[in-house]
């Protein structure tokens, strides 16, 4: 059986529930400092170097952090990367080719380096595992078009059509988006975090809720907030 590779030359970052897991782990202060330096960009080796850790010790340290479930290798999609930089969109100065597939990650990195991100409360967070999806169109825009009739696959609740339904039913625009907020206020935070949902923001038409209890609670929240039943296959009739 091949031995797992410890990739100290790759960037790592804290897991989504780092704050919670950290409560049950005891490390020395230097190790905590080092963990909090992991930003999803710098290679693990570079962070170790900041703390004058010898190269031989680095793989063992990374293995230990991984075994404790505190870190993961960094993988960001474009939206997460922009969010990490405190940007909601690509800078207006970016010119993209007609086909979105031609924009590669290297080009984006060149643009956002040097951008200042927002200040957050001193809570270490992982954003690479965040599932994000749209709240609909721009606040000033009209309600979205009718979603297709087959929003729910056999094994999950697709959120994009659900959100579009809420926005449309509540009148569209900002008011509709605030209705989505009210719906999700009724969903227990631990269930959202359990589904790796830390933020609802961008289009992700493939995202589905696979937890039946969470799906049921979301549907109940829609019913409670809007006074209507969301029937996924009939969403277009809203």
């Amino acid at each position: 059986m091949p031995k797992p590779t410890i990739k100290i030359d790759r960037p790592h970052q804290l897991v989504a529930d780092f704050r919670e897991k950290g409560r049950h782990v005891r490390l020395n202060a230097g190790e905590w400092k080092m963990l909090l330096e992991l930003d999803g960009e710098k290679p693990f080796r570079a962070v170790c170097a900041q703390f004058a850790i010898e190269a031989e010790a680095m793989p063992g340290l990374l293995t230990r952090f991984k075994r404790l479930g505190l870190v993961v290798e960094s993988r960001l999609n474009l939206d997460e990367f922009l969010k990490q930089r405190g940007l909601s969109e690509l800078p207006a100065s970016i010119v993209t080719a007609p086909s979105a597939e031609t924009l590669d990650a290297v080009e984006i990195i060149e643009v956002v380096i040097g951008g200042s991100g927002p200040t957050t409360a001193p809570v270490a967070m992982n954003q690479t595992e965040v599932m994000e999806f749209t709240l609909g169109a721009n606040p000033s825009a009209a309600a979205p078009a009718d979603p297709p009739m087959d929003e729910v696959s056999s094994d999950g609740l697709r959120l994009k059509p659900l959100i579009d339904f809420i926005v449309k039913h509540a009148g569209g625009g900002t008011v509709g988006q605030l209705a989505v907020y009210r719906v999700f206020l009724k969903v227990p935070l631990n269930l959202l975090h359990g589904a790796k949902i830390r933020s609802l923001q961008l289009v992700d038409e493939t995202f589905e809720i696979h937890s039946p209890p969470l799906a049921q609670i979301i549907l109940a929240a829609v019913r409670e907030t809007l006074g209507v039943e969301y029937v996924p296959s009939m969403a277009g009739a809203a």
Binding site: G86, S88, E89, S116, P118, T119, T120, A121, V123, M125, Q127, V130, E132, T134, L135, A137, N138, P139, S140, A170, T174, V175, G176, Q177, L178, A179, V180, Y181, R182, F184, L185, K186, L189, L192, H193, I197, R198, S199, L200, Q201, L202, E224, T225, G227
Partner: protein, 158 residues
């Protein structure tokens, strides 16, 4: 609070910019965030209580605060003046909200703080974050409330 009530805070914020800065900010696609709160350089916060309770706050980068001070003709650009500015914006929004809601909700006197002093006991449930782009900077209007069970269909009479 009904979504139309929450929208009051957004509309009054937009109005403030339009009237004072003569230039409405551009609302960007909002997010609902379930992680740690985000505070930029200067924040003006309005606490709301009643059937729903929580905080509505406008947080902006230093660059935007200074640009707004310039627009309103305020010669000072120091931290205290920037803080006063967000306090004034929050105060205007809260006054308008108070007039709108009447006795349905209690709107407290706004608080201000800087990023370094922001330790907010915000509700943990989730925040509605609306980025507002004005000139070359982006502020965040954040709504962070909790609802009592009976407020599901509640809406103030306007």
């Amino acid at each position: 609070m009904h979504e139309r009530d929450l929208d009051v805070f957004i509309q009054h914020t937009m109005n403030y910019f339009t009237k004072i800065a003569h230039e409405a900010p551009e609302p960007r696609p909002p997010t609902i965030d379930f992680s740690a709160p985000v505070f930029l350089d200067f924040t003006g916060a309005i606490d709301v209580s009643g059937q729903s309770s929580g905080t509505v706050y406008l947080t902006m980068p230093d660059r935007m605060a200074r640009a707004l001070l310039e627009v309103v003709g305020e010669p000072g650009r120091d931290e205290a003046t920037c803080r006063d500015l967000v306090g004034e914006i929050a105060s205007t929004i809260s006054s308008n909200a108070r007039a709108h809601f009447g006795s349905a909700f209690q709107i407290a006197v706004p608080r201000t703080f800087t990023a370094s002093t922001a330790i907010e006991p915000l509700p943990l449930q989730g925040r509605f974050i609306l980025p507002l782009r004005w000139r070359d900077a982006e502020a965040l209007l954040v709504i962070s409330i909790t609802e009592l069970p009976s407020s599901n269909h509640a809406q103030t009479d306007h």
